[in-house]
């Protein structure tokens, strides 16, 4: 086996990144923001309380601030920057957030969108209570969640008519 084959790799938004020893020891949030310069993933608390740092790890919503890079080697990471279609068209969840007025300060929005995506993968037609449960680990201080729930409901109808 050559040395290259054993180099640990992380796939972020479809691009493979070889990881250095130092990068393996970083938390995923810092790696995404500081090394890859993907600043759409936000740091709201650093203690796993707010969900602003939510990313998709193999399509499941996870908090990147509590995730070590070494623990996700070989996995597929999706951040908000990898969420639009390649032609720039917004994902139906993103469009629904705009149309429902679900965005205010926007700091929780990327994490909220990714949690909603993860929810809709598991449950295509969640009722409003199930939507609240699906986004319950993502804090928002601006919206009172009402229009976010509206957005996810709307996205579910667009994606799975």
């Amino acid at each position: 086996m050559s040395a290259e084959q054993t180099t640990p790799v992380l796939t972020v938004n479809g691009t493979e990144h070889a990881l250095t020893e130092a990068e393996l020891n970083m938390n995923l949030l810092d790696y995404i923001r500081e090394v890859l310069n993907l600043t759409g993933t936000k740091n709201g608390c650093g203690t796993g309380a707010c969900g602003s740092c939510t990313v998709l790890i193999d399509d499941a919503a996870r908090r990147s601030c509590l995730t070590k890079v070494s623990s996700v080697v070989g996995k597929r990471i999706t951040t908000i920057e990898g969420f639009e279609q390649s032609d720039g068209t917004l994902h139906p969840i993103q469009q629904a957030f705009i149309d429902a007025g679900a965005i205010q300060c926007g700091f929780c929005t990327p994490g909220m969108v990714l949690s909603a995506y993860s929810l809709l993968l598991k449950n295509k037609h969640p009722d409003r209570e199930e939507i609240r449960k699906g986004i319950n680990t993502n804090l928002c201080r601006c919206t009172g969640y009402q229009q976010i729930v509206d957005a996810v409901e709307q996205a579910s109808k667009t994606m799975y008519p």
Partner: protein, 756 residues
């Protein structure tokens, strides 16, 4: 162009939903260094010594800054210059910063910060506001000889005498807690020294102009040498003024001393530790009522905790004074509102600004009074509330706008079915596991700053040769959608397509200081300025295009992206209009300003025209209480607010939902648990803001009685939304359990339920 109703418009939605929006911490500059703050373990101490030797030798460290390095003034403040931006000889509270470590890498700065050695002689901690006001208490602020920060009064009629003659006299005491703003984005600043000597400041803040003053004070430089930009800001809620400005000032000092860009981004821990909070209040009311249900006299004493620095405490307390008995008319009022200096966290502006605390008391008193009188809570409110041309407790006659208090209350009562549901309340007994209650509260809120401040704002419209338009105002975007409102208003005024107009990146070196975007003044003041500038622009255009349109200037109209004469035959497109103007050497440019109508205040009597207009609000809630564990579950919320006119309907509703949710957090779950000036926890795991599942569906009702004194006819919604759900919840809790809860956060002890 008419604003399409039901359509959501936000100029920043695309950037935010795609993660492209660059907040302060998302910015990077070449050769940028990183700063971190250093705190001490003291709460109150003197003879402060900061040993930076070991930290300075730490890897990557460029400089460790203390009060001794400050070229300007280490102290500053919005009212009094007492706020220490670096601890200077004394520690005043847990959040005082003793040093700033600047290093090549943030990780290097963090590890060096641990090596700063702080020593001081501890002083007794003053933590009880009531005790702080006794003559025996140690004095917290050495620039004063007592802990009394301010004392506002109202002396109307003779309340003390009249209380002796009333049929019913209620005596009630209430308390409220410290509240954390908990904006999702912690404070952050990036400062870049420019080659022309100007310091560029990019920061998460609510008031770029105030930030500029703080930066100027610390650096000892004139305002023209500092240019403050506001990138997208991740929430403010009144909380990103002093602390956020000081974070910018410290980063600017580091950038100035090192002559390179410096970033200072706060962790949540630092943010909670250092940032100012909502004032806790203790409120004592004596309310005299006649058998008819009419309130005859009110005596009230409020004590608020001001922390160690003044911040805007006098203004917060002033609003509590002006609105000291809610939206009710009373001929005799004797009010004293005091603020005590302590070594607890700094307290300052927070959405609601001295009103939520008062409403928590007053609106529970309304229900208590109604029960004593044996009348419906709605009836009691109807008897006493302000009506058209009523005189408020400050002696202001409400004759300049539609007083819709009753209309708003009736809308909510009808929507939720209040009277019918009131009869179904458990009052402590039910057959199942749950107790059920409904509760309601009403408020009025003076719009904008009122007699507490200078209230004016400006706007610049700069039309381009190609038909595109640049807009700027002195109001700033904190996430509430203020830029979108301004864009909508301008499109409407000029009759042009919305996509013609671009909102300029805000800079303190462009528009004049428009004051801070607080006090529910964004839409009313910024909207007033946009409307004023648009009128000037239209006048200019009419005066210079009427010859082409073959009509008199006053006949020129602006519709459907065209400039028209009196009949539709004579019209030119907006693009053509711009070309004509430039060919005539006329700049289609206008500066407009709006000054709030006159207000007045007498400090001794607490009488005057406190605010130029008021927002009328009512909120109601249904909830259940689990008998075995005391858990409170919100089941339904209905809210109505008369905001004059909704410019961006979906965003108005968003403000309602969000404000209500913050009020729910204050009522039920938010508690910093501060004891003797110390925080037991500094994270959002323990400080519990409401989550999606803890909220019910909320119905928002927008009531629109256009306000003649507002050029855009709109008032505002930011703060009214938050200020009255807590007493509605307390009233519902009483109706569910039969127990009156007077201290926030409201907690039901199941043992108390079993005693019933």
């Amino acid at each position: 162009m008419k604003i399409p109703s039901g359509k959501v418009f936000r100029n920043d939605a695309y950037a935010k939903v795609t993660g492209k929006a660059k907040y302060s911490d998302d910015l990077k500059f070449f050769n940028m260094a990183h700063a971190v703050p250093v705190y001490s373990d003291y709460i109150h101490a003197e003879n402060l010594q900061v040993d930076t030797g070991a930290a300075e030798k730490s890897a990557g460290v460029l400089k460790v800054i203390t009060a001794a390095d400050v070229p300007g003034s280490v102290r500053f403040g919005q009212i009094e210059q007492d706020y220490c931006m670096f601890a200077d000889k004394k520690i005043m509270y847990a959040g005082d910063v003793v040093a700033l470590v600047v290093a090549e890498q943030r990780s290097q700065a963090l590890s060096a910060a641990d090596k700063v050695v702080v020593s001081a002689d501890p002083l007794p901690v003053v933590s009880d506001p009531e005790a702080a006001l006794s003559p025996e208490s140690p004095v917290v602020r050495e620039i004063k000889n007592s802990n009394l920060m301010n004392h506002h009064k109202m002396r109307r009629g003779d309340a003390l005498q009249e209380l002796k003659t009333c049929d019913i006299v209620l005596q009630e005491e209430f308390s409220t807690q410290f509240i954390e703003h908990a904006y999702m984005e912690p404070e952050s600043a990036v400062c870049v020294p420019r080659q022309d000597g100007v310091m560029e400041v990019y920061g998460s803040m609510q008031h770029p102009f105030s930030t500029r003053r703080f930066v100027g004070a610390l650096l000892g430089e004139p305002l023209s040498h500092i240019e403050v930009y506001q990138p997208p800001t991740g929430g403010g809620f009144g909380g990103k003024d002093d602390t956020a400005a000081i974070v910018c000032a410290r980063a600017a000092l580091a950038a100035r001393l090192l002559n390179r860009p410096v970033k200072l981004t706060y962790t949540r821990e630092w943010s909670i530790r250092e940032s100012y909070k909502r004032h806790p209040y203790r409120l004592n009311y004596k309310v005299g009522i006649e058998k008819s249900g009419r309130v005859k006299a009110v005596q009230v004493r409020m004590i608020s905790d001001g922390g160690p620095y003044l911040s805007v405490s006098p203004w917060v307390n002033w609003r509590s004074t002006a609105q000291c008995f809610g939206p009710y008319t009373v001929d005799n009022v004797h009010a004293d509102v005091l603020c005590a200096a302590t070594n607890n966290p700094v307290t300052g502006a927070m959405r609601g600004f001295g009103a939520p605390q008062v409403n928590f008391a007053v609106e529970q008193i309304s229900d208590i009074a109604a029960e004593r009188l044996g009348i419906s809570p709605l009836e009691y409110r109807r008897i006493n509330m302000v009506k058209q041309d009523s005189e408020t407790v400050t002696g202001q006659v409400l004759d300049t706008h539609t007083v819709s208090m009753e209309q708003v209350m009736d809308r909510v009562a009808d929507e939720i079915g209040y009277e019918e549901k009131l009869r179904k309340c458990s009052r402590g007994t039910s057959e199942g596991d749950e107790l059920y209650g409904v509760g309601l509260s009403i408020s009025y809120r003076g719009s904008s700053l009122g007699a507490e401040g200078m209230d004016f704002c400006s706007s610049v419209i700069n039309c381009q040769f190609d038909g595109s338009i640049l807009l700027e105002t002195g109001i700033h975007e904190n996430g509430q959608g203020s830029e979108s409102v301004m864009l909508l208003l301008l499109a409407e005024q000029l009759g042009v397509r919305l996509d013609r107009i671009k909102y300029k990146r805000s800079s303190t070196s462009n528009v004049p200081d428009g004051g801070t975007t607080v006090a529910t003044r964004g839409t009313i003041m910024g909207g007033g300025a946009v409307t004023a500038a648009a009128r000037k622009l239209k006048q200019l255009m009419a005066d210079n295009l009427n010859d082409i349109l073959q009509c008199r200037p006053e006949e020129v109209r602006f519709e459907d992206d065209h400039v028209l004469g009196p009949d539709s035959d004579s019209k030119i497109t907006w693009d053509e209009a711009m070309q004509h103007l430039f060919l005539k050497r006329v700049y289609p440019y206008a500066f407009g300003s709006f000054q709030a109508p006159d207000v007045s205040w007498d400090e001794e009597t607490g009488q005057g025209d406190a605010y130029f207009t008021y927002v009328y609000s009512c909120q109601a809630v249904e909830l259940t209480v689990n008998k075995s564990n005391g858990k409170i579950k919100m089941q339904n919320i209905v809210a109505a607010h008369d905001i004059g006119r909704a410019v961006n309907r979906a965003m108005v509703l968003g403000q309602m939902y969000g404000g209500i949710t913050q009020g729910v957090g204050m009522a039920l779950s938010e508690d910093l648990g501060i004891e003797d000036g110390r925080f037991p926890h500094l994270d959002l795991n323990h400080y519990k803001i409401p989550k999606a599942r803890e909220l019910p569906e909320i119905t928002g009702i927008i009531v629109e009685n256009p306000d003649p004194q507002s050029p855009s006819k709109a008032k505002g919604i930011g703060e009214p939304a938050l200020e009255l759900i807590a007493p509605a919840i307390a009233n519902a809790l009483y109706n569910a359990t039969g127990i009156r809860y007077r201290d926030m956060p409201l907690k039901v002890n199941p043992e108390d339920l079993n005693l019933k």
